[in-house]
């Protein structure tokens, strides 16, 4: 989609640059003139929030890396050195650890927004898949980063997760020792995890660029799910309209981020990770960070290790198949009465799995986790494909403009009356 305003270089330098590398007009087209639907709600601000968080994580992370020692004998103490002696060290570390959590919170809200408004449907399938790739890379980065402080949970999470690969028939054990750089989690593991934890975020940056590129080709979806027909009438330029709306949303999100970082920095952490890693002592309950809990619950719900691992990966990857699993022609849940119910049931299933992922896998917890894991896949594989057969969608507005006009009409009547 191209916007209405055209970039014209004003200074001599800008004209010089424009002839050689039209980066200024590219930026203008992408972040100033880019047409954005007028009717977007605040759920559409998470793209900006996530971009902000990615940069925040890289900036805090690079400084932390300058003071961190990826050596099993020194790692735990080097974190405490950061907390005690490095200028702004405690702030940087708490900001980075809580930043990861808020990054995931934002990405989950972003994804649920996509699900609710059918943002993955034609022509945004590839945009969605790139998003799932980013999500998978984020999960890898989060896991790798959690190992670095070399606490008990770091060590045992690394042991549990790398051990999953040993479930692969024939080559499983070879893959596991290749990942570990040995036969158990040890110094080579910590070293490569540090290297990869530093590397993957930059791969994320590259995929984010593709994600934004794809978005700027198709244009944004909007709460009605009806494609923009009249750019002039139904959209506003990204700057200043979206920039300031996004800036406000980032401001609110930052307040939450600051609250977590400054006042409850250890709320989302596990106390055991303040105990240095000890290969000879297994914690009573090994639990991952909260953002992995639903998937962890699915893994443990299945009694067979290989099937459990398959279910774990399937639970993440199935999200990428959404454009083809959801057969409804209507995008937005606003006009899908049944989907709307199932959407909230699905949210509840995910929250329920998250709760169960933190509980010991026994008794009623295990039974519930099995039921909810089944329902999780049922939603994707049965409900979504079959729903259009049963559902009678409510009428969609003729256009974005019509929807805006209908929305403001009652207000005007009230004002006149």
């Amino acid at each position: 989609m191209s916007g209405s305003s055209k970039y014209t270089p004003k200074s001599a330098f800008a004209r010089w640059l424009e002839r050689r590398l039209p980066i200024l007009s590219f930026m203008h087209e992408s972040f100033v003139a880019y047409p954005t639907p007028k009717n977007l709600n605040y759920m559409w601000t998470f793209g900006a929030i996530l971009s902000f968080m990615l940069v925040a994580q890289i900036l805090t992370g690079v400084v932390l890396a300058m003071h961190y020692e990826p050596d099993t004998a020194l790692a735990f103490a080097s974190i405490e050195h950061i907390m005690r002696d490095v200028n702004w060290g405690a702030f940087l570390r708490y900001a980075h650890a809580n930043g990861a959590s808020l990054f995931f919170l934002a990405v989950y809200l972003h994804m649920f927004r996509g699900l609710y408004y059918g943002s993955y449907k034609e022509p945004r399938e590839l945009l969605w898949i790139l998003g799932v790739v980013i999500f998978a890379l984020m999960m890898a980065t989060g896991f790798l980063g959690y190992v670095l402080p070399w606490g008990q949970m770091s060590f045992w999470a690394a042991t549990v997760i790398t051990n999953l690969f040993s479930a692969i028939p024939v080559v499983g054990n070879s893959i596991t020792s290749w990942l570990l750089g040995g036969f158990s989690v040890d110094n080579p593991t910590l070293n490569r995890f540090f290297a990869l934890h530093y590397l993957v975020p930059f791969i994320i940056c590259a995929v984010v660029a593709l994600h934004v590129w794809a978005l700027h080709v198709t244009g944004q979806n909007n709460p009605t799910g009806v494609e923009v027909k009249d750019v002039e009438k139904e959209t506003v330029p990204f700057t200043p309209y979206a920039t300031f709306k996004d800036a406000f949303a980032i401001g609110v999100f930052l307040a939450l981020y600051a609250w977590m970082t400054f006042f409850v920095p250890n709320y989302l952490g596990h106390p055991d990770n303040y105990i240095e890693a000890n290969p000879l002592s297994t914690p009573a309950h090994i639990v991952p960070e909260w953002y992995f809990l639903p998937f962890y619950a699915i893994l443990r719900a299945i009694p067979n290790k290989l099937l459990g691992v398959i279910a774990l990966f399937a639970a993440v990857l199935i999200v990428a198949a959404l454009p083809w699993l959801d057969r409804s022609k209507v995008k937005s849940a606003r006009y899908r009465p049944l989907f709307r119910i199932f959407f909230w049931v699905f949210v509840a299933i995910c929250l329920g799995l998250g709760y169960l992922g933190a509980q010991p896998p026994e008794g009623a917890f295990l039974i519930s986790a099995r039921i909810l894991s089944g329902l999780y896949f049922l939603f994707f594989l049965v409900i979504l494909p079959l729903l259009p057969k049963f559902e009678k969608p409510e009428p969609e507005p003729a256009s974005v403009a019509a929807s805006i006009a209908a929305k403001s009409a009652p207000v005007e009547e009230a004002a006149h009356g």
Binding site: K38, A77, E80, M83, R84, A90, F91, Y94, V236, P240, Y241, F244, K245, A247, F248, G251, V252, L254, A255, A258, W259, M260, T261, F262, F263, V264, P265, N266, Y267, P271, D272, Y274, I275, A284, L338, I341, F342, V345, A348, I349, G352, Y355, L356, Q359, G363, A364, F365, I367, S368, I371, L372, L375, L378, I383, L387, K389, F390, K392, I404, A405
Partner: protein, 294 residues
Amino acid sequence: MANRASSHWWAFLLSAAFALAALTPQAGLCAEGSGGEKKPEPEERPLAFPWSFAGVMGKYDQDQLRRGFKVYREVCSNCHSMQLVAFRSLGEPGGPGYSEAEVKSIAASYKIKDGPNDKGDYFERPGRPSDYFPPPFANEQAARAQLNGAYPPDMSVLAKARGYHRGFPTFLFDALPGLSYQEAGVDYIASLLQGYRDAPADVKLPDGQYYNVYMPGRRLGMVPPLSDGVVTYDDKTPQTVEQYAKDVAAFLMWTAEPHLDRRKSLGRGVLAFLVVFAALLYLVKREIWSTVEH
């Protein structure tokens, strides 16, 4: 029409199944509590103390940190190391606030292994402010040999390495402004130190194990470390186990989180700024959008 009714029925069925699944864990918990003869009684929930450093306005009580340091020095440090804490931090702002001279003399009262010297020998010298608290035992094996097999944990970050399950839905409220709770570890430590009781008749403890109602499993390898009057306070603070427990727990919170005061005061400023900043951005946004129907 018939289609629509049947699809509603489907949705209802699925919601009912989900509600059932959500309810079962609680039923399971009840069943667990009543059964299991061989399982030890579950530990008691730690007491909640009114810490000066809790909450948004929280900061350490300097006198309490000094008293707690005295308890650590005279009692705990006989068995527990604190290897990540340097003497110099005792004089840093937001801590016990000892003067430079006091820190020097505290450091000098410890013997630090150093070397090799010009002759290639290792030697002991008085501590300097830049040194870290030396461990009471040379290594884990030495500690276990002398302490009936027990290995006392390092105390540097102990107050953050301990905690207890807050349960649903309490854990959700623990994150909220006004209700925030980050003191599980320090509450647990202060409770544990006053949690020794005579073991009930049906509980047989092996040698070197003590009955403590706050310890998971109720068995603890630590000799009851405190008794009334065991540490002499310079001021009029009561010299009781309860007071010692609170003071040393507060001190351990400080060793685990030495920059808490600064973190919170900085946080208040940052948060106040962000609230105003976000409000201003909202006004700008509203002004920009005021002419656009959306």
